[in-house]
Symmetry: C2
Subunit: 345 residues, 2 copies
DNA sequence: TGTTAGCACTCGGTATGCATGAGTGCTAAT
DNA sequence: ATTAGCACTCATGCATACCGAGTGCTAACA
């Protein structure tokens, strides 16, 4: 365990370094600090903190820098939450005041405001379809043997997919099929559609329709890879990354930006939302080696009491933890409230 | 007018510089060139070319670099189109072989393959809704006085919008309204919907429906800003920008990347597709001062004979014009063919 | 007259040496 | 336990010198 004085010093170093991005030395610290100590004393303490692995020294005779372990300790034990500045609160209130109905739009706005407020890169997971209940199914032929299949959930999500349509299927059969689908699928949670009802519907179809095989293949296509979309993640403010001194060098920044642009693995950057609550992943705590110099701060948002997604911020490990955690938490709460109001708990 | 020798020299300088990104000197040129000339002679010619404004000299006693005017001359007069390498042709054939039905998906793939092939940033305009004909209109209540309005065009585009629904509108009225809309709007080009049919439908509604005012407001909302989506541009390979030596410096790269990320003005980067054909905008020829060190090479693609959108590539003015123009042209042609086949001329 | 060899000159880039200053660790005094 | 003092380290900035790639110019040459 650390002495109180060590804690104060560690806090001071973290907070100073987060601001300046420069190694902090004993002299500067001794002036700035609430408990006045001579530089020499502070040096001794810093030396101890370094041996504990909480500080790093870029080179002999330079100031100290928090190690990842140091940040971890700071976050776990030293952090004191500051009040949100009024400007931030107002900005957020404005965003969620405008009663948006479309969830995607709300998510997108959230992503934008998060990165704007913090000047980091925001990650906002689009809520999965799984919990939505099917409200309507539609199948619209657009000629050339193609059709658009549309799926609407009670969360207002619209999923559309193009399917091939065998020419032999008549318009009547199509209508019958759509009716069947609607009557059987209405209010069924998307997650259950496939496993639970699939065979049942298929059987009914085989009875009711002549070209049921084609019909089934359509259904198949429609439901196939819903998994593809249900982990979509909105990214905002990727270029904010370039304002951070640690990414001043293009060769440092490029891999991370490429990773963000490619986006296929972004879901895995955020912790699974099922766990709920806030998460802070510092440096090597991230699964991707690419992000071993980055921190991800995330929180889950919910409809009512059930968590449905995560929002998060990505930045260098040298991050303004107090402020960002506060904001992420607050935004998650605001988003939850807005979604809950819009969609009902 | 330039002498033949000057042309050869200018060509050689452009082609060398495009590859190496280093100012090219007389010695290197004299070795590499097809017509063997001594460095001294070349120096004289280069001096002349500089006075003509076709070459720049970064500083006294460094090699020459093509000026923007030099690139322009090269593109207009000296460019000799090389055959596409087999790898490129194969890659493209593979992309368009897979008979994609969704236009958006096709566009997105095009954007990706373009940036992959060229290592520049690709811009692909999504074809406007305007030319599509309405195939189906649907209005699906999702509870809480909200509904999802869906619009399907014969190009397979699905537009969905959330609308508020006055509680007073009954289910029957809703059905009546949707039927009315469908019968009146079917096969009408989206561009005409608003101007031509709006009032007419409104009048019919006022007769047929009790709460026609609410109905109209719904219709209003649905059609409101279709303009919002019809100029969407897909961007691919933004991080490729960072591989270019001219953007090695973050402070150079950031403004451009921010511009690309923000994206609200991307439509204006590409020339209006109505003009058809290929366009090359070099440096200051671009409207945005931000892009005054960049070149945009673009071509239009069509359904049948009518152009419907543009594709383009963005890179530094030091660009491999021959290769890129060839690729853009070829991709535009391939995309046109694919879309035409999928949607019919 | 067009071409080329030769030469002086320019200038960016790299290496070197040196002074500066911020910062440390250690020791001895308080 | 704290701190003043001191020797030491190392990044940074600066002046200097040097090298090499490249030029412009002039004079010689075909």
């Amino acid at each position: 365990m650390l002495t109180d004085r060590q804690k104060i010093i560690l806090s001071a170093i973290v907070e100073d370094y987060v601001q300046s991005a420069e190694p902090v030395g004993s002299r500067a610290l001794s002036k700035q600090m609430r408990i006045p100590l001579s530089p020499a004393t502070i040096r001794n303490e810093m030396s101890d903190l370094e041996q504990l692995g909480l500080l790093d020294q870029p080179h002999t005779s330079s100031g100290r820098v928090p190690s990842q372990k140091g940040y971890r300790f700071y976050v776990d034990n030293l952090l004191q939450t500051t009040a949100l500045d009024q400007k931030t609160v107002v900005a957020l209130r404005d965003v969620y005041a405008q009663r948006i109905v479309e969830v995607e739009r709300m998510i997108q706005q959230t992503s934008q405001i998060l990165s704007e407020l913090t000047q980091y890169t925001s990650l906002v997971q689009v809520p999965t379809l799984r919990e939505g209940k099917i409200k309507h199914v539609e199948l619209i032929p657009i000629g050339n043997g193609a059709a658009v299949a549309i799926l609407v959930t009670d969360t207002g999500h619209v999923e559309n997919r193009h399917v091939k349509l065998d020419e032999q299927i008549s318009a009547d059969e199509l209508v019958a099929m759509v009716n069947l689908l609607n009557s059987r699928l209405k209010d069924v949670p998307v997650s259950r559609v496939k496993s639970h009802l699939y065979r049942e519907i298929a059987r009914e179809m085989s009875v009711a329709l002549e070209h049921y095989e084609d019909a089934i293949s359509v259904l198949d296509e429609l439901l196939k890879d819903n998994g593809k979309t249900d982990d979509k993640v909105f990214v905002g403010g990727t270029t904010n990354m370039l304002t951070q001194p640690e990414f001043r060098d293009v060769e440092k920044a490029r891999p991370v930006l490429e990773f963000l642009e490619h986006g296929s693995q972004l879901q895995k950057v955020l912790p699974r939302f099922e766990s709920g609550g806030m998460h802070v992943r510092i440096g090597v705590e991230n699964d991707f080696p690419l992000l071993h110099d980055c921190t991800v701060i995330s929180a889950t948002y919910s409809i009512g009491q059930t968590p449905i997604g995560s929002i998060g911020l990505l930045g260098p490990t040298r991050m303004d933890y107090a402020r960002v955690m506060r904001i992420v938490e607050y935004v998650a709460k605001s988003l939850s409230r807005a979604i809950t109001e819009a969609k009902g708990g």
